[in-house]
Symmetry: C2
Subunit: 134 residues, 2 copies
DNA sequence: GCAATAGTTAACAATTCTGTTAACAATTGC
DNA sequence: GCAATTGTTAACAGAATTGTTAACTATTGC
């Protein structure tokens, strides 16, 4: 199955749910920002936030389940670091839309964006019915 | 402010919340998939889903608020199409992490991933205290 | 051993999300 | 005009999210 076009695999959809869900929170994005500067333990990761440690602990758990973060337990200290895995999932998903931006549908996109204009011929679903232009 | 490094703008964080939140649902991702093939009206967009029209209508509203979808109203028909705006926000956010993957921190990432190995010198936060390797 | 440290899990409350059905508004076509 | 079409908004129920505090486990260092 072409990894660029398949979007029906349930496991893949669940993974995308987890990744985008994890990224949909600014606290978690800030944690990723911090980790992009280098590994950190949980307490370090929690320090900037006006939030209890258990709250941070569960944000971290979500990031880990989304495979955005990896954890190495060393005694009582948990070392966290960025993982590339899940962000590659995002890249792969985005790739699907890059073809839309850059490919033959670009002019159609602009056409619809403006509400009028000159779409290329031979593009399906033209819906040219707007008589009064919005 | 450098758009690659700034992550504190509240408006930008809200926009990222909206975009990632919108993408964190497989129904909405499927709607985007459909729109990548060309514009569609709401009923067309709703057809594949075992879901009421009001439910689809609100998914669509979220996609629009996240600037992932644009709408042109033509009489009673709403024509929907992909917008590039929000996906560019995602691209911009991801760019921050591409430097992590490809840049000087790559070896450190591998170091932490494996739990040992040879990190480059002069990288902060090394935490080399693991005596028993684990 | 025992106190301090690092972090998780449990239980709970407040909020947000996602779906439903019912009612509504606007446009189209006869 | 009026019935059918297209789509939204309102009101509500159930589930998921996100935070809290309290209790717990495991490890470290004296």
């Amino acid at each position: 199955m072409d990894p660029r076009t398949q979007g029906r695999s349930d496991a893949r959809q669940e993974q995308l749910d987890r990744v985008f869900g994890a990224l949909a929170d600014r606290t978690r994005r800030a944690m990723l920002d911090r980790l992009a500067a280098g590994p950190a333990r949980v307490t370090e990761l929690a320090a900037p936030f006006a939030m209890s440690l258990p709250a941070v602990s569960r944000h971290l758990k979500l990031l880990e389940e989304a495979r955005l973060v990896e954890r190495r337990v060393d005694g009582r200290v948990h070392h966290c670091s960025l993982s590339r895995d899940a962000l590659q999932d995002v890249e792969g998903w985005l790739q699907q839309y890059r073809s839309f931006w850059q490919g033959s549908l670009k002019s159609l996109a602009r056409y619809v964006e403006s509400g009028r204009g000159k779409p290329r011929r031979s593009l399906k679903s033209q819906h040219r019915k707007d008589k009064h232009g919005r």
